[in-house]
Amino acid sequence: LSLMALRLRLKNSFCHSFDAPVLTSSISEVINLFLGSPDAHVKPQFLDSEVQDILTRITGLNLEKVFRPIKQELKPPKYKLMTDAQLEEATQSAREQAQRLLKMPPVLPERKPINDVLSEDKILEGMDTAKYVFTDITFNIPHRERFIVIREPTGTLRKASWEERDRILQVYFPKEGRRLTAPPVFKEENLKVVFGQDRHEDMLDLCQVQFEPDSSEYIRVHAATYEDLEKMGKYDLLRSTRHFGGLVWYLVNARRVDGLMIDMLQKDLLQDAVSLVGLFNKVHPHSETAQEASSQQAYGLDLLKIYAKRESQRAGYVELALQAYEQTSAESTV
């Protein structure tokens, strides 16, 4: 590890604090308590502590990739003379910094459209050909609670829709890197070009900057990126980035974990594969895999075998990979 090559990533994407409401760490447990009966099971949410633990473990921590040189202002490099102990300390702090950089952006359900009409004033019809947009610029209100109302030429006073809100908040409270109109990269045809160049991570970062996490555009772009990654099998592109958790969550919810499983087995990441199956069982507790696993109290390789038998569409491939792994581990011990 050469410390000279380690340069801190610009925190561009992290200047944006997520304005989404902060969910408690184990929301499903809270809801379970609320519902009363222990049998009623609520689906685990993305932001549960257990789910987040599994996802962080699967994401991995490749320091070289996290701190790779990125495009920034040209400065002469700084050289430091360090003892071994100091190098250890510096590596440790770099690791912590990387963990903070790998914090996952939230996965939220799509926001419901706003259709609130505050007043209908027919007497004002025809007063003007343009709409009036009134924004409340009081400093201490969170952006989600701000009043943005529109007076139409027909006289109705209505609340602004989500897209209008985003645009007008960007006018009065601009966020760095966000543009008033979405860049044309986010159209379908242009997305395909970008994916052809293997720039999924940049795309996701750009999407993070431009859209709110619960807007339809954000969800659409993320879905398109994940679909393309899954089709091409290029999971490694996102492996040590903060988007990997989102990818895994999407695949687990769509029950299409085969490609990822095979990729992990080929790269000899057995622990990750086991955690993946564990997560799958948590999210889909009524599937055959989960029920068999809970009845047999399976761990480790057995979980994988159950998964290969029951759920996977490419069962043969998974079993082959498992056998190959067992062989190599047997040879290495012998």
């Binding site: 004033d121 004002l124 709409k131 009134f134 924004t135 409340d136 400093f139 109302v149 645009r167």
Partner: protein, 152 residues
């Protein structure tokens, strides 16, 4: 050493050296018989053909565009590409100044009435009716012109 002196930079960039005793008279200028108003002040350069207003709390006696006490918002009278006229209102501070006894002017009262912050201004309704009457007159004139052109 002696008493501490403070340096104050005035709005015309002159530096003045003061003791504590003198600071207050520079900051609290009152006008005889004046009051505070909330009004629209034209912002931006005077030679451009592009109006833009700031909603501002200022002394009544001051010039329209000169020093104000606090900016409370903005108003852009020209519509943008989405056909919107953008108005921003700092409701918290407007409530404060209204509480201190500031008077809004007619245009500001109309804007705030349209926003729903104030009740609707009666002149807005009257103006709309006048506008509609004019539009109807223009419509009646236009078909007559069209008929005349056909005859010719």
């Amino acid at each position: 050493m002696g008493i501490m002196t403070y340096t104050v930079v005035l709005y015309n960039y002159k530096r003045v050296y003061l003791n504590m005793v003198h600071l207050s008279s520079f900051l609290l200028k009152t006008y005889h018989g004046g009051h505070i108003v909330i009004r629209l002040a034209m912002a931006g350069h005077k030679q451009s053909n592009r109006p833009f207003y700031r909603i501002v709390a200022a002394y009544n006696k001051r010039a329209r565009d000169s020093k104000y006490i606090e900016q409370l918002g903005s108003y852009d009278p020209l519509p943008n590409i989405y056909n919107e006229k953008l108005v921003s209102i700092n409701s918290d501070r407007i409530k404060y100044w209204m509480g201190c006894g500031a008077h809004p002017t007619k245009p500001v009262a109309k804007l705030l009435g349209l926003a729903g912050f104030f009740p609707l201004h009666p002149m807005t309704v009257t103006e709309t009716e006048r506008h509609r009457a004019l539009a109807e007159l223009a419509e009646e004139a236009a078909p007559e012109d069209g008929v005349k052109q056909q005859q010719l």
